[in-house]
């Protein structure tokens, strides 16, 4: 009994200390305030272990020369600005980030292809690394990995001279919507920066209306009768449905729109 009371007292004390830490504003979140070394090491090790464990299940396809040449184009379009390349610095904005984006020539030496792929696909929370699985198809992501794995062997001149192959088409998947995937896609299209959405954690700012019980709503955007097809139509091309709407075109794939509509249909 005394032991239990002691544990409870310690837990209470820790919770109180945590609350003071949070509400006092003592922690400096500025990007110019560098981490203490133990903090940095802990975060870094947590991240590396998290990636390594999850990448075990990834199967690596052959990373041939075609992939490398398609990958260089994708890399220049999507990765270069933050990560730089042999002989090319990142853009100034990327240098102001904490954590600062990694030099991928070094990452490629120390990380396996599966780990690089997992990171490209899923992104890294609390860093600026986005998840690319809703922006690039699976093949395109492997193309990027194939190129990144070549980085350590490229001189600045060789990188500069590399010719690009066009990217492959984004793959489309037919069939019914997958509500679980839709919920993840909602987060990945940043829907919660404008809408409150039950089941999705985020700022839930009231920029647009709350999507609570959206499945029971009569109209979408006040103009379209609410149905699964109309929801997909609205998500893919809001500006065509209602010209001048504040809802932006998010370049959403039909596949993602179908899954998001399936999730929204569960909110009743």
């Amino acid at each position: 009994m005394r032991v239990l009371r002691c544990i409870a007292a310690v837990a209470l004390l820790l919770a109180a200390a945590g609350a003071v830490f949070v509400y006092s504003g003592v922690y400096d979140v500025s990007a110019t305030d560098q981490h203490l070394f133990p903090t940095y090491w802990t975060i870094r090790a947590t991240m590396e272990r998290s990636v390594a464990v999850r990448a075990r299940r990834v199967e690596v396809p052959p990373l041939d020369d075609v992939r490398v040449r398609r990958g260089v184009g994708l890399y220049r379009e999507h990765c270069l600005r933050c990560h730089g390349a042999p002989g090319v610095a990142p853009e100034p904005f990327a240098l102001g980030m904490t954590p600062v984006p990694e030099n991928l020539a070094y990452v490629a030496k120390t990380w396996s292809a599966a780990e690089v792929y997992w990171t490209v696909r899923n992104g890294l929370k609390m860093t600026a690394m986005p998840a690319w699985q809703y922006r690039l198809g699976d093949d395109a992501m492997w193309d990027v990995v194939a190129f990144v794995k070549q980085l350590p062997s490229l001189s600045p001149e060789e990188y500069e001279a590399m010719r690009e192959l066009g990217p492959p088409e984004r793959e489309r998947q037919p069939g019914a919507g997958d509500a679980r995937r839709g919920r993840q896609a909602i987060q990945q299209y940043a829907c919660v920066t404008c809408h409150a959405i039950p089941g999705v954690v985020g700022s839930q700012a009231p920029v647009g209306p709350s999507l609570a019980r959206i499945a029971t709503r009569g109209f979408i955007a006040g103009v379209l009768p609410n149905s699964a097809e109309n929801m997909e139509l609205w998500l893919i091309a809001p500006q065509d449905v209602k010209p001048g709407t504040a809802m932006p075109d998010l370049d959403m794939s039909p596949h993602d729109a179908k899954d998001i509509a399936a999730y929204l249909a569960t909110l009743n």
Binding site: C194, A205, P206, V207, G208, P209, S210, A212, R213, T216, R217, G218, F219, A221, G222, V223, K242, G244, T245, A246, M247
Partner: protein, 119 residues
């Protein structure tokens, strides 16, 4: 909870503790009058509006916390002028909208807007 019971609680809560100001500063309208106009014009047959018994429908979005909303009707900045104009004649502002003009004059629209901004 049964809807009837919930309704009863809302009514009791209204009778007991709902204090509305005589004038809502942003719109200059009378929120109390606005609330009775909302019932009169049947806004609750499409919108959920807290503090208005029976206003529970889900044809259109709920009007909770309207004051903190950034846009009106997905198109217009949420200003008192825009809200009053929208309630008065939505079709004049957006010919596509499913929201009908229900014959609310401008002063009435101001009072309704005043009530909605207290939510």
């Amino acid at each position: 909870m049964a809807p009837a019971l919930r309704g009863l609680i809302v009514v009791l809560a209204l009778a007991g503790c709902e204090r509305l100001p005589d004038r809502e500063p942003l719109t200059g309208g009378d929120p109390k009058h606005g609330r009775s106009l909302i019932r009169e014009f049947g806004c609750g047959s499409c919108h959920r509006i807290s503090g208005v018994p029976g206003a529970n429908a889900s044809v259109a979005p709920p009007l909770e916390k309207l004051k903190s909303r950034v846009y009106l009707a997905g198109r217009f900045a949420n200003t008192p002028q825009n809200l009053v104009a929208w309630i008065h004649d939505p079709r004049a502002m957006d010919s596509q909208t499913a929201m009908p003009a229900v014959g609310v004059d401008e002063q009435q629209a101001r009072d309704i807007a005043a009530y909605l901004y207290t939510r």
